[in-house]
């Protein structure tokens, strides 16, 4: 670059003029300069106005800044059961707080509070330190859950306690605590990370948010909108004038499809045992009952737990916090034969005329695969109807072999297994539907045909949740629709009319109605015909269809090594499963039951389903007259509840 090349204006800008020479651009720049000048004048003028013309006024305001912003927390939406019973309410709770800048002498206040409500100086110091950096007019909470006595004392000595405030907060209260703990869930105080990630207009420090169950998944609807008041306060910090108020608007109320009667029946039937029940309306997918045993008391999370209480709860070997109905994964056992039957018929591996001979066992590869009726010498010639009714393993081994693992997996998925059902609850498990690709990926091994045999009777790698079992049964009950389970029937906005929840998604399972009908007839026979495995699920006046299942937890040989069934340790006993629907003519309820290490589906799980269906149809309970039952789960607290025994076992 050299000086001789210093600009020759017109030659530089290509086709255009050099900007500085272009009259349009000159004009634009001039305009810009004027705009900037105007802006500066306006801003300086405003500064002049605020600081010089109005300065005196604002100086006065700032010297005794009396305008406070008081938060109005919204009250949380209520939760009702299907028949309008209140499940989650808000009850007043009193909190002792202090407004730091109004206190004056902390030493005096500390002494007085110690005398009145027994607050130690350390507690007060700790609370103050925690609130450091917060504006001095924001209340600092010193103690939650004041009792009536403390409340009265504080009110009496109110004038000697400058800065002290008793805040009324509405606190969540669960009215059917152990009956719907997992479904409704509980709240927890918002933590720092959540606070940072949330909208400041909605959440503030000290707010409670859903942590589990519907409280968590429907947090947005339930929470409500915060309000506020601008108030003027006197030197003691008491409000003397309300300047402006925007009331908080409460959260919307939820009415669930869950019915408390059914929850009660489930809780009673599962008392002292570990297991879960899921029941839904096969026509809509509305969940009627979702119960997991053992349960816990969600109120403990609201009022606060001692370390010991929490330790007991979280270290209980029965995991009461786990919602087994949606996140417990179990081998489906013989309930899976519903899938094998449907798949066999749909894929034309079998038809109504297919008859397989069951000799009590079946040779395959270099071993024998037994039928559960091995001791009785097998089922003889068996068609699909008899096979379902009597849960003949050999029939389904052969059907499974004809189908192969991947076609079985396809139909398991079509019936909703292997993925979350989409119920609006946190922590739902997907279950597992194995296929040859999965095996290769997971174990780097080829799928063996022998495994297909186990798969066909529900004993392989397949895992299902009780809710998935109920949903799978609903497909048979409603003529081929895979429903999405929903819990909320209506949402009622504050002061508004109930709004029905959006229609849940249904998908058609690609199976011919006559094939489903065959399966349905088989399921009805399980309960109602002689030799059926679930006669314990019969209800007076209502025809029930169902399928039992017994899922081995350990190998048969190992289980037998304990000798008599009664001697098998609890944790090695098989899970008892049962699925059912009723009435078979026009089904309105589909149920899935798992009793962990319960023994047998027919004897141990079927009565649980029957109890829930009784409650649903309003049939009174039969008088208990049988002798006590020995099988009870080892309770954390040694309080084994005796259950009436149900003699007679099925598969």
């Amino acid at each position: 670059m050299n000086l001789s090349q210093v600009p020759k204006p017109a030659s530089v800008g290509g086709r255009g003029l050099e900007p500085g020479e272009n009259p349009n651009i000159r004009m634009a720049l001039l305009t810009a300069a004027v705009v900037v000048g105007l802006a500066l004048v306006v801003l300086l003028g405003r500064l002049w106005y605020l600081q010089l013309l109005k300065g005196e006024h604002f100086r006065l305001l700032s010297e005794n800044n009396r305008i406070r912003l008081v938060d109005l927390a919204p009250s949380r939406g209520l939760i009702f059961d299907a028949e309008g019973r209140l499940l989650a309410d808000n009850r007043p709770a009193f909190t002792l707080a202090v407004i730091p800048e109004d206190v004056g002498d902390w030493a005096v206040l500390t002494r007085r509070l110690h005398n009145l409500v027994g607050l130690s100086p350390e507690e007060i110091d700790k609370a103050r330190r925690a609130a450091q950096g917060a504006p001095p007019f924001k209340p600092v909470v010193l103690r939650n859950h004041l009792d009536r006595h403390q409340l009265a004392l504080l009110e009496t000595f109110r004038y000697e306690l400058p800065g002290v405030k008793v805040l009324v907060r509405y606190q969540r209260a669960y009215l059917a605590p152990r009956l719907a703990a997992h479904v409704i869930g509980y709240l927890g105080e918002i933590n720092k990370r959540e606070l940072e990630q949330s909208n400041r207009a909605v959440y503030r420090m000290g707010d409670w948010v859903g942590r589990y169950g519907l409280e968590k998944s429907r947090e947005q609807v339930l929470h409500g909108r915060r309000g506020a008041r601008q108030v003027e306060v006197d030197a003691m910090g008491r409000e003397i004038k309300l300047i402006k108020e925007v009331p908080a608007s409460r959260g919307a109320d939820l009415t669930l499809s869950i019915n408390l009667n059914l929850q009660k029946a489930a809780a009673k039937a599962l008392e002292g045992r570990v297991g879960a029940v899921a029941a839904l309306d096969p026509r809509t997918g509305q969940v009627l009952c979702l119960y997991s045993s053992p349960a816990f008391d969600p109120n403990d999370f609201i009022t606060g737990m001692s370390t010991k209480q929490w330790k007991e709860l979280s270290e209980d070997p029965r995991h009461p916090l786990k919602d087994r109905a949606i996140s417990g994964m179990y081998p489906p056992g013989s309930t899976y034969k519903i899938i094998t039957s449907a798949a066999g018929l749909a894929e034309k591996a079998i038809d109504l005329t297919t008859r397989f001979f069951c000799a009590g066992q079946m040779p395959f590869g270099n071993r024998y695969y037994r039928c559960w009726a091995y001791k009785k010498g097998g089922h003889g010639y068996t068609d699909i109807h008899k096979a379902i009714r009597e849960s003949c393993d050999v029939f389904f081994y052969k059907t499974g072999l004809k189908l192969g693992v991947d076609r079985l997996a396809k139909w398991a998925r079509a019936f909703g297994l292997g993925r979350p059902t989409g119920i609006s609850l946190p922590h739902e498990s997907p279950g597992l539907v194995p296929d040859s690709k999965w095996k290769k990926k997971r174990f780097k091994e080829r799928w063996q045909d022998g495994e297909t045999l186990s798969l066909a009777i529900g004993q392989s790698f397949t895992l299902v949740t009780p809710l998935q079992m109920a949903r799978m049964t609903a497909v048979v009950a409603n003529g081929g629709m895979l429903v999405t389970p929903t819990l909320v029937k209506t949402v009622t906005p504050p002061g508004g009319e109930p709004v029905p929840a959006p229609e849940p998604v249904k998908t058609r399972v690609p199976i011919a109605p006559e094939h489903l009908d065959t399966v349905a007839k088989g399921l009805a026979a399980v309960v109602n015909e002689p030799h059926g495995t679930a006669r314990r699920a019969r209800l007076p006046g209502i025809t029930v269809g169902g399928k039992t299942g017994t899922a081995q937890v350990v190998g048969l040989k190992f289980e037998k090594s304990f000798g008599d069934e009664e001697n098998v340790p609890w944790k090695y006993r098989s899970h008892a499963l049962f699925v059912a629907y009723a009435p078979v003519e026009n089904p309105t309820i589909a149920v899935g039951v798992v009793v962990e290490h319960g023994g047998h589906g027919g004897s141990d799980a079927a009565p649980v389903a029957a109890a829930v269906m009784r409650a649903y149809f309003g049939i009174p309970e039969p008088p208990p007259k049988e002798p006590p039952k020995p099988k009870a789960a080892p309770a954390a607290q040694p309080k084994p509840k005796k259950k009436p025994a149900r003699p007679g076992a099925g598969a």
């Binding site: 530089v12 086709r15 000159r26 400041r200 601008q230």
Partner: protein
């Protein structure tokens, strides 16, 4: 390597103005954030480091110069668009909006880079379509689109303030670049006609958001309360202020975000009209320096880069001070050099680098 003329043409006055304003900012932050007992480095120290880093960025951008910046304009623009998209998926959520992206140990705010990218890409775009007569509407569709893409991505975060800034900077560049008056009138009229239509298609909650933006009084929780406290702070400063570290409004935390968005109210409270005026005049001087540089540019891309850089300082300053003084609705936009914030400071310094880069070369001939 460095041409002596580059050094001699360096705009030392502009540098001095910037340093003076930066110093005002640091001193003010010492007070504004003094009552925070947070851990780690004090805010004013951090701001000093950012200022140092900003100067390096400014010099680097200036040394690179408009020519080479123009060649990387498009790649840089697309990188920023990718980052803005990534933010929507993997960004860190703070205060209900998703603006930050973690790249290894570093956390960046891509929306800050967007203004720079839009200025560069527009300068490069119009340089290639240089013409003497004002631009017609159809010629502007593409550049407007180039500005809208990042602006809409930022709006989605949501960060309305930064979105508006991108649009205002882009509009400044496009308007100075020249638009046929008749076309400008048509575009303006079109927008006015389109507004009710857009309004009709908006959902309830979106309308609500607009309402509370236009009328903060409807939200006494947040903005209106903040505004009252900010006005009290500024007004009570009177002519000479309450004195350094003596602002009651700020020291007692009546002010929200007092070291970022409301830093100017702390300054006006403690230094009074004098202090506020000095800061405004410094900002004004920097902006006029930019416009003066624009007058002497020799090619279109230099002109537009200078205008863009100047707009990047002018608009946030006007909006921030206007907001703090209760003239505009509350939007979270920092005041350049005065508010605390690394990304904002470095971006502003890069904008100055654009101006300096052109000013340095005013006696050097180069092929556009």
């Amino acid at each position: 390597m460095i041409d002596r003329r580059l050094v001699s043409s360096f705009d030392w006055l502009l540098l001095f103005l910037v340093l003076a304003l930066g110093a005002c900012g640091v001193i003010n932050l010492y007070s504004a954030a003094s009552s925070f007992t947070g851990s780690g480095m004090a805010v004013y120290v951090k701001q000093t480091y950012w200022l140092g880093l900003g100067l390096v960025v400014m010099l680097a951008v200036a040394m690179i110069g408009p020519q080479r910046l123009s060649t990387i304009a498009y790649p840089f623009y697309f990188l920023v668009v990718i980052l803005l998209t990534a933010v929507l998926f993997w960004g860190k959520v703070i205060g209900g909006s998703q603006r930050w992206l973690a790249l290894g140990p570093m956390v960046i705010q891509p929306s800050e880079l967007a203004r720079l990218a839009v200025v560069l890409v527009l300068a490069s775009f119009f340089q290639r379509r240089d013409q003497t007569e004002p631009y017609r509407l159809h010629q502007l569709l593409l550049p407007v689109g180039l500005a809208l893409v990042p602006a809409l991505l930022i709006l989605k975060e949501p960060d309305l303030g930064t979105c508006l800034l991108v649009l205002m900077v882009a509009a400044s560049v496009i308007l100075v670049n020249g638009v046929k008056l008749r076309d400008l009138a048509i575009a303006g009229g079109g927008m006015i006609v389109a507004l009710p239509l857009v309004w009709r298609f908006m959902k309830g909650y979106q309308k609500q958001r607009i309402f509370s933006f236009l009328d903060p009084e409807s939200d006494p929780l947040g903005s209106a309360y903040h505004l009252i406290q900010s006005k009290i702070a500024v007004g009570s400063g009177q002519f000479i202020g309450k004195g350094f570290l003596a602002g009651t409004q700020s020291q007692l935390h009546f002010l929200p975000e007092q070291h970022t968005d409301f830093a100017f109210s702390v300054l006006a409270e403690e230094w009074g009209f004098i202090g506020g005026m000095v800061v405004l005049l410094l900002v004004g001087a920097i902006v006029y320096r930019g416009i003066a540089t624009a007058y002497r540019t020799k090619d279109r891309q230099s002109l537009l880069m200078v205008i863009g850089g100047t707009a990047m300082i002018f608009w946030p300053a006007v909006i921030n001070v206007g907001m703090v003084l209760g003239l505009f609705p509350v939007v979270g936009i920092p005041l350049p050099f005065v508010s605390y914030g690394g990304s904002s400071l470095v971006t502003t310094m890069a904008a100055l680098g654009l101006i300096q880069g052109v000013a340095m070369r005013r006696f050097v001939f180069h092929r556009p």
